[in-house]
Amino acid sequence: MTAANEALTPLAGHRFASPMSRDVETSAELVLYRHVGCPYCERVVRVANDLDVPIHSRFVVPEHSQRDVIKRISGSRTVPLLVDESRGITMSESANIVEYLDRTYGGS
């Protein structure tokens, strides 16, 4: 493995990998995986704000090769990705997410 590749390798298998994830659990119910400057993510955030739905943001880097965390959750590497813990929902694609938010949290 070259040094360049090694630098990109996730910490999976590292002996300290588990304390790391243990420290970062959050009690937030709606978690949005996004990256900075992604217009589809901005759309979801705008709709959530309009609906007064609190969202906890988790940011990933733009490189798809470094998005294993998203792949593990949704099976794909695309953002936005919404995880609604309370309803057991995991959803990609901004159009789907926006519709879901509106249907679920939009009131009457």
């Binding site: 630098a7 990109l8 390798t9 996730p10 910490l11 590292h14 002996r15 300290f16 990998a17 304390p19 790391m20 994830s21 420290d23 970062v24 959050t26 995986y33 906890h56 943001s57 988790r58 940011f59 990933v60 880097v61 470094q66 998005r67 294993d68 965390v69």
Partner: protein, 170 residues
């Protein structure tokens, strides 16, 4: 006589033992993503060792964190987190490069260092300041159990001394 300079830093009214650390929320960067987290949230679970360090590209940052990693701090009931003014992208690369099992807060505005009384003005870089290298051991209510703040620049960091002090508090 040594032909290099170690500068004595000015006295600061920094946060010290027995005082309550000011809570803050900043992006906490891990190997795969980052998110806003507060210091008090982290302290709820375990005592926290908060390590302020210079920008991620410096040798001081590198050797501080390699040293902490190799001493296996945080392997038991202690949460070790860092804070520098580097961006989340730099933190993520730094975590991968040195295989760090720790979270690092990103505070490019250096506001946290201000509330801790440990602002360090970088010479020759207009508008850029960072935290003075420091270690704070915090209880669940953010009471400072142990504080070490550099008095010299470059800092006289001694990880063995910090480790001994932490062990004596356990």
């Amino acid at each position: 006589m040594a032909d290099f300079d170690v500068v004595e830093l000015p006295d600061t009214e920094h946060l010290s033992e027995g005082e309550r650390a000011p809570d803050f929320t900043r992006p906490l960067v891990k190997a795969e993503c980052w998110e806003d987290r507060s210091l008090s949230e982290l302290a709820e679970r375990n005592p926290v060792l908060l390590v302020f360090f210079p920008m991620d590209g410096t040798g001081m940052a590198k050797y501080t964190w390699i040293g902490i990693r190799d001493r296996e701090w945080g392997a038991s009931d202690l949460t070790v987190v860092g804070l520098s003014i580097s961006t989340p992208y730099e933190h993520m690369a730094f975590i991968h490069r040195h295989r760090l099992p720790f979270g690092l807060f990103s505070d490019p505005g250096n506001g946290v260092a201000d509330t801790f009384g440990i602002v360090h003005e970088h010479g020759g870089m207009t508008g850029v300041a960072g935290p003075r290298p420091s270690f704070f051991l915090l209880e669940s209510d953010l009471t400072v159990e142990y504080a070490w703040v550099a008095q010299l620049w470059p800092p006289e960091t001694d990880l063995d001394a910090v480790e001994a002090a932490i062990d004596s508090k356990a």
